[in-house]
Amino acid sequence: MESLFAQLVVLESSLVLIFGLVLLWRRRVPAYVSAFTWQSLVLGAVALTVGWFGRERELYFIGGLLVLVKGVAIPRLLGRMERRFASEREIAPYVNTATSLLVAGLLVLFGYAIMRPVVAASDLPTRAGMPLAMGLVLVSLFVVVSRKKALTQVVGFLMLENGIALLAILGTYGIPLIVELGVFLDALMGFLVMQIFVYRIHSTFETIDVDQLDRLRH
């Protein structure tokens, strides 16, 4: 039972990480959004798995909320934004795809390295997934800094949030529900604020390429 739990959790955590890596290989904004959607759905599955095997009722609730907010609501909003900026579908990264994939691989290794002591100190069956969550956090930070379009940076930020949520679920079987709700609300608010920003950037500069932001006149 214990080993099945551990296997399932590691499998799902790797899937979550892989959707993060898939993002680096894709080129267009819709592909980014769909990778994020799948990632959130799998993250919801992680919460349900941990809830089932760890007998934590609250995690069912959190899993459901994850699926609803990050798997359905935010992707829809992202999709709407994406249609609005349809002329800027191609993503122009600062770092080319092959290099970013290699960098991401190294970042995941780094995640393994820094989580070693934590994993060694933990005796939870979910511990094997924690380095993967850390890797996802690092990879999404990299997405935020290496992509030019504001929209893709938003997706990177949301993935970062997913990584932190995964770490919380795996490391502590979920933080108290009230905190989790606060985080959700924060993420949603942050997303809405960013959405407004993106629209403002677009209406001021007529592009969502953040490289253009140093151009003060228009």
Partner: protein, 313 residues
């Protein structure tokens, strides 16, 4: 003794089966594209026809051009002998492990690229340069994906890897194995010149790789190269099917176990053929400049596979 004979028999089986697998993929692809398609045994007729044809060799070509088809065929056939197909362990396991298989395949690739350069045709040189680019990027991935398997089995010996996975079925679902499988699948597509990387169905495309190299070949040389290419596909199929999902491979040499092994082999080959045909129907060919990106993605997968099998040993 019986096991030695079986190793030989299994080599012959692979040689005989290889063109059929290519034919099956072609037929499935045709059906998926609403064409009637040639029957799966068509490649056998093609091989027989090619063996009967006269050989035309460019007058600029050196001995290398004539030797290359034999090197390609023999090295691929040797690799095919080492791959676990029907039963493990076999005495031939002592001859070579996974690394030998990989580098035997690479030896064939190198000679084919040299042969593409040799007659001095423009297309051949382009094909060779592309093939080398792809091979240079694919080879570290294969090595890493294999290390991921070898690490969890504690040996690079193919027979032992199979036996180890069979004794511990949960290992087949571990992330290390799954990632390594994905990485090796992508590499298989690149190495055997299948659709998103290369188009095996045409001679008339500027971005072709494999077909560009073999453009100058004819007659029995072409037959040997085509046969070797089919063999390479089968070797990769057998690696993917038997290393990652080893159930069905015979451990004892009873007729029942061998019959089951044969049936499961055919089943696995059919499943992989369907997967390849579906993929080839669904995706468009990648731009040549995106191929390195695909291969670096598979390299990262293999890297993660090694990391996770290393840490979860």
């Amino acid at each position: 003794m019986a096991r030695g004979a079986l190793a030989l028999l299994q080599g012959l089986l692979v040689l005989a089966l290889a063109p059929g697998v290519v034919g099956l993929v072609r037929w499935l692809k045709a059906r998926l594209q609403n064409r009637r398609g040639a029957p799966a045994w068509q490649p056998y007729f093609e091989l027989r026809k090619l063996f009967g044809k006269e050989v035309v060799v460019s007058e600029n070509a050196s001995w290398l051009f004539r030797a290359a088809p034999y090197v390609v065929f023999v090295s691929t056939a040797a690799a095919a002998l080492l791959v676990p197909v029907l039963a493990v362990p076999l005495p031939i396991d002592a001859v070579g492990d996974l690394l030998v298989v990989v580098y035997l395949l690479l030896l064939g690739t190198v000679f084919l690229a040299l042969a593409g350069l040799d007659p001095g045709s423009a297309f051949g040189g382009m094909g060779s340069s592309r093939e080398m680019t792809v091979a240079a990027l694919a080879e570290p991935t294969v090595a890493l994906a294999i290390f991921a398997l070898a690490l969890s089995a504690g040996s690079t010996n193919l027979g032992q890897i199979v036996a180890r996975t069979m004794s511990d079925p949960a290992a087949a679902l571990s992330p290390g194995h799954l990632l390594a499988f994905a990485a090796l699948f992508v590499v298989m597509i690149a190495e055997t010149g299948r659709m998103p990387v290369d188009n095996p169905a045409t001679h008339l495309e500027l971005t072709m790789i494999h077909e560009a190299m073999v453009l100058e070949y004819s007659g029995r040389y072409l037959a040997l190269i085509e046969w070797a290419a089919a063999l390479k596909l089968l070797v990769f199929f057998a690696l993917l099917g038997n290393l990652f999902v080893p159930w069905g491979v015979a451990v004892v040499l009873t007729p029942a176990a061998l019959a089951l092994a044969l049936a499961s082999l055919v089943g696995k080959l059919a499943v992989l053929a369907v997967a390849v045909a579906l993929l080839e129907t669904r995706v468009a060919k990648l731009r040549l400049f995106r191929v390195p990106e695909l291969l670096s993605a598979s390299f990262v997968l293999a890297l993660l596979a090694v990391t996770s099998s290393f840490l979860s040993r």
